[in-house]
């Protein structure tokens, strides 16, 4: 009886191990490359252990290399500013909107709600051309603002969707009793409705962060001066030389991944809770 | 149909709780139970007493921390639920929503490889037995609670399992339906006498359905006896207070012996009863139990004498059929059930008496056996 148990136990665990391997090997391989000096990359070897181990590539990140066009600290800063502003603004705009759609009835509500959600089925390229022209006319090319505005907007459909379902799930009793106690609608919203919705708000922030940090197309289009580049663009600089600088590239990629991974690991339960709610809402 | 034997079955949960005392939770203390072929045994107790854990161990969902389970002599303790040839009815029916009633009833037979013609016949038979023939092509979602429960019963019984388990199956039904289904279950058990273990917190269900009742409290067996035994000879304070509605009066008394007799005095000073225990008791404290319906009372005329105690009515609760009222006897509240229709009003002065043959005495929580002596011997 016990032997049969063991035999049944193994294949699933093996399959899981294989998938884990599949998921993580690319990271491991990049990490190894980033920890080796450039010269040792160019011999064929099949080991995950860096040999010899060196931090030279990471140190190189911190010094700008105008010749190669790589300036990690600058790009990191740009990404950070853009993404943080985006997240803050996205939350500020999406939370009241989701609350409004959840709690109120007004003329055109369905049209607005579904209109917002509907736009998210189209590829981002579609909006790109007119937006590019618009930003050009407004003189906003090559500014943080152009990206922030775009990212903020594209995150709205998903954010409003998640937050609305959170608000729908919070009973209105407490808000009603606050109103009866004399609170204004706004105060009821801020002080009574928002606290229980915090998990949803955090999830929204995470989604927006991940989305904006990784965004490439709009950054590619709106930004052409190298000093304003965000990280996704910055990595590309390593390709501009004849032979791509894999050491620098992998180090940059790893460094670029770290903030997102940290944010996710710390807040993952909110992230997963929000996705779970979305999956079961129907 | 089979004989089930539980030997030393127990379950302890260990957690890594900060509080050392809360670390080991003894959900079920070691117990032995023999259920004979075709017997209907109910495991009765309040929530948290371990009855569901016990059931889960029998069916194989939870592995026991110790002990063995034998079905017809075969040790199934390590077997998967699939292999135990048991069937179960759940509180929320657990029907397969994507299948029709026929599909649900058929499922166990299909899984065992029973050929199609035979399946259809058995499904039709079972449907007829349960009154489901008209509903065979409906889906669970289209059925009422009672109908769903009957489908659940049918699905469980259709393959004639060795053991039939029911986990509070009637709790989700409304009161009238519950009574109806209770009769159904009794009838079913007569037609198909499968060995049955039934779990509930409703003591009237336990009394109505079972051949034997196992009362559980905080993981341990309080009493294992026929329904009659549980009701008329509760072994301890817990069973006494749990079985019977309205609940038995449990009144603290002090005990003083005089010869072979033992006098029980309530806190207020009235002598509630004079009893003759089989084994003489030391003086001290105890608990006197008497069911509200056994308390005798009459309107007070003048001084009370003899075994009667004077009392005032505190509250009345007229349910239409009977009247339940609370009387103050020397500071102690006594619940009385009046079934003959006499009028009772708050503030009435009445006299109360506890007939010796209806009185139970508990010392240190356990029942004290009395001598069978004619009542007259206890008159003071």
């Amino acid at each position: 009886m016990q032997v049969r148990r063991w035999v049944r136990w193994v294949p699933p665990k093996l399959a899981l191990a294989l998938y884990l391997l599949f998921a993580l090997i690319p990271f491991g391989w990049m990490l190894t490359a980033s920890l080796e000096p450039q010269t040792s990359l160019y011999r064929a070897h099949l080991s995950l252990l860096p040999n010899p181990l060196t931090l030279i590539n990471y140190r190189a990140l911190f010094t700008a290399n105008p010749v190669a066009g790589t300036d990690f600290p600058r790009y990191f800063l740009n990404s950070l500013i853009v993404v943080c502003c985006t997240v803050v603004l996205a939350v500020l705009v999406a939370v009241p909107a989701a609350y409004g759609f959840s709690r109120y009835r007004f003329f055109g509500k369905d049209a607005m709600l579904y209109g917002i959600l509907l736009q998210s089925i189209f590829p981002l390229v579609n909006f790109l051309i007119p937006l590019y022209i618009l930003m050009q006319d407004l003189g906003l090319l090559n500014t943080y603002a152009s990206l922030i505005i775009a990212y903020l907007t594209f995150s709205l459909p998903l954010n409003i969707w998640i937050l609305k379902s959170f608000f729908d799930g919070i009973p209105t009793d407490m808000e009603m009793s606050a109103r009866l106690d004399g609170a204004s609608a706004w105060r009821a919203f801020v002080e009574i409705a928002i606290p229980p919705a915090m998990p949803g708000i955090v999830a929204t922030a995470i989604f927006t962060f991940i989305l904006a940090w990784d965004e490439y197309l709009y950054a590619l289009t709106m930004i052409s001066t190298s000093s304003m580049r965000t990280l996704p663009l910055g990595i590309f600089a390593y390709f501009s030389e004849g032979v791509p600088n894999w050491s620098g590239l992998t180090a940059t990629a790893i460094a670029m991944s770290i903030p997102v991974i940290v944010v996710f690991l710390v807040l993952q339960k909110y992230f997963i809770a929000a996705l779970t709610k979305g999956a079961l809402k129907y | 149909m089979a004989e089930i034997r539980l030997e030393g079955i127990r379950k302890t949960y260990t957690s890594r709780s900060r509080d050392v005392r809360a670390r080991e939770v003894k959900a079920v203390l070691p117990l032995d139970l023999l259920i004979t072929d075709g017997e209907f045994v109910t495991i009765l107790g309040p929530s948290g007493c371990g009855k569901t854990t016990l059931l889960s161990m029998i069916v194989g969902a939870v592995p026991p921390s110790g002990g063995r389970i034998r079905v017809d002599g075969v040790d199934v303790t390590d077997a998967d639920p699939r292999e135990r040839d048991m069937a179960m009815v759940f509180q929320n029916y657990a029907l397969y929503p994507s299948k029709t009633v026929r599909g649900n009833l058929e499922f166990p037979l299909r899984m065992r490889g029973i050929p199609s013609a035979s399946r259809t016949q058995r499904v039709d038979e079972m449907a007829k037995l349960l009154g489901l023939t008209a509903l065979l092509d409906n889906y669970p979602r289209q059925l009422s609670g009672g109908q769903q429960q009957r489908v659940a019963l049918g699905r469980a019984l259709i393959r004639r399992p060795k053991l039939f388990l029911m986990d509070e199956p009637l709790s989700n039904l409304d009161a009238t339906l519950r009574l109806q289904m209770r009769t159904e279950i009794r009838r079913l058990h007569r037609e198909l006498p499968v060995t049955t273990v039934y779990v509930t917190h409703d003591q009237s269900e336990a009394m109505a359905l079972s051949d034997r009742v196992v009362v559980m409290h905080q993981g341990a067996v309080s009493q294992m006896d026929t329904p009659e035994g549980i009701y008329q000879r509760p072994a301890n304070l817990f069973v006494a207070g749990f079985v019977g509605a309205p609940a038995m009066n449990l009144l603290p008394v002090s005990l003083a012996s005089s010869g072979r007799n033992m006098g029980c005095t309530l806190n207020g000073g009235s002598v509630a009863a004079i009893l003759r225990p089989r084994v003489p008791l030391a003086a001290g404290g105890g608990v006197l139990g008497i069911r509200p319906k056994h308390v005798e009372w009459q309107p007070s005329v003048g001084r009370t004498q003899g075994p009667w105690m004077s009392s005032t009515v505190l509250e009345t609760d007229d349910t239409g059929d009977d009247t339940l009222f609370y009387a103050d006897v020397g500071g102690q509240a006594v619940t009385v059930l009046e079934r003959r229709g006499r009028a009772v009003a708050v503030g009435d002065a009445i006299a109360i008496r506890f007939p010796e043959e209806s009185v139970h005495l508990f010392v240190d929580g356990n029942r004290v056996e009395m001598e069978d002596v004619p009542v007259s011997a206890n008159v003071v």
Binding site: A97, R103, N126, D214, L231, L280 | -
Partner: protein, 292 residues
């Protein structure tokens, strides 16, 4: 909810205005542009009727990109669902290390398309990439090849990258679905003698129907609308074999400087997607008694 008809408006206005400005207006402007000729040497445009549409719909490169995109989408989504479901089933059974394993499996999704593209570029690297190393040392290849330049293998290769990145989303959705299946019903099936596989297909799957449909639709749309992976890894090559629709539109606009044509192509894509969306919303709202 309260009946003050206008009271809710201030809450939603910022969001609505932003969306109108940044999405609706470009949407309409795009349609407008699609009917105008946009010569590259000037910012003047003039009305051109259906000329752009004619050009686009007859352009073999566009039609090719549609084909590639459909292949890409179906290939990615199908394996996303399969892999996601498999992973969800496996992770759901775990008793220890469930949290860390789940987090590790989500990493590809979290780091984003850009990192995914560069990581796999390194893996596929013609001389030193892991893939080549493995294949040569196992004797499958006699010498390292550049997968991304191969006419037959480039598309599967980039699809694999997309699957790698997007499958965890399906996994999470299905994990949630699995956890919503009532335990007692599964136990009932077990007691009735169902084996693990039969229990999955006959009992569990009906409960998962909705989440599978929703996940499929969402992922189909997401996959159809990707841009980054082919752009970074192959620039749509070799010979347009990995050029998906988003790449086509981008190239048309910013390399060929034909905004009008690109706009027309965008509109064609939007129409296709709207038809798709309508069809699938229908299957969600269908409610038969036997459907869970």
């Amino acid at each position: 909810m309260w009946r003050e008809r206008l009271a809710g408006l201030p809450y939603v206005m910022p969001a609505v205005l932003v969306v109108i400005a940044v999405m609706s207006y470009p949407f309409l402007y795009c349609i407008y542009l699609s009917f105008r000729a946009t010569p590259s040497y000037t910012t003047e445009t003039h009305f051109a009727g259906l000329a752009n549409y004619g050009a686009v719909l007859n352009d073999p490169v566009f039609l090719n990109s549609l084909l590639i995109t459909v292949t890409w989408t179906i290939g990615s989504t199908v394996f996303d669902i399969l892999l996601g479901m498999g992973a969800a089933l496996l992770v759901n059974q775990l008793t220890w290390f469930r949290g860390p394993i789940r987090a590790a499996l989500m990493l590809p999704y979290i780091v984003g398309y850009v990192i995914a593209s560069y990581a796999w570029l390194w893996l596929y690297q013609a001389e030193y990439g892991l893939i080549n190393e493995l294949l040569t040392s196992w004797g499958v290849l006699s010498h390292p090849i550049s997968l991304l330049s191969s006419l037959t293998w480039a598309l599967p290769a980039v699809i694999l990258v997309n699957i790698w990145k997007t499958a965890p989303f399906a996994m999470i959705m299905f994990l949630a679905g699995l956890q919503s299946i009532p335990e007692q019903t599964v136990m009932a099936a077990e007691l009735d003698g169902a084996s693990k596989t039969r229990a999955f297909f006959e009992i569990k799957l009906p409960y998962l129907r909705r989440v599978i449909i929703i996940t499929s639709v969402v992922m189909t749309l997401q996959n159809f609308n990707t841009f980054t992976i082919p752009y970074i890894m192959t620039s749509g090559g070799p010979l347009n074999h990995t050029e998906i629709v988003s790449n086509y539109i981008y190239n048309d606009a910013f390399t060929n400087l034909d905004f009008g044509g690109a706009a027309a192509a965008s509109v064609v894509v939007m129409i296709i997607l709207m038809v798709f969306a309508v069809l699938y919303v229908g299957s969600l709202t269908r409610r038969q008694p036997g459907v869970v």
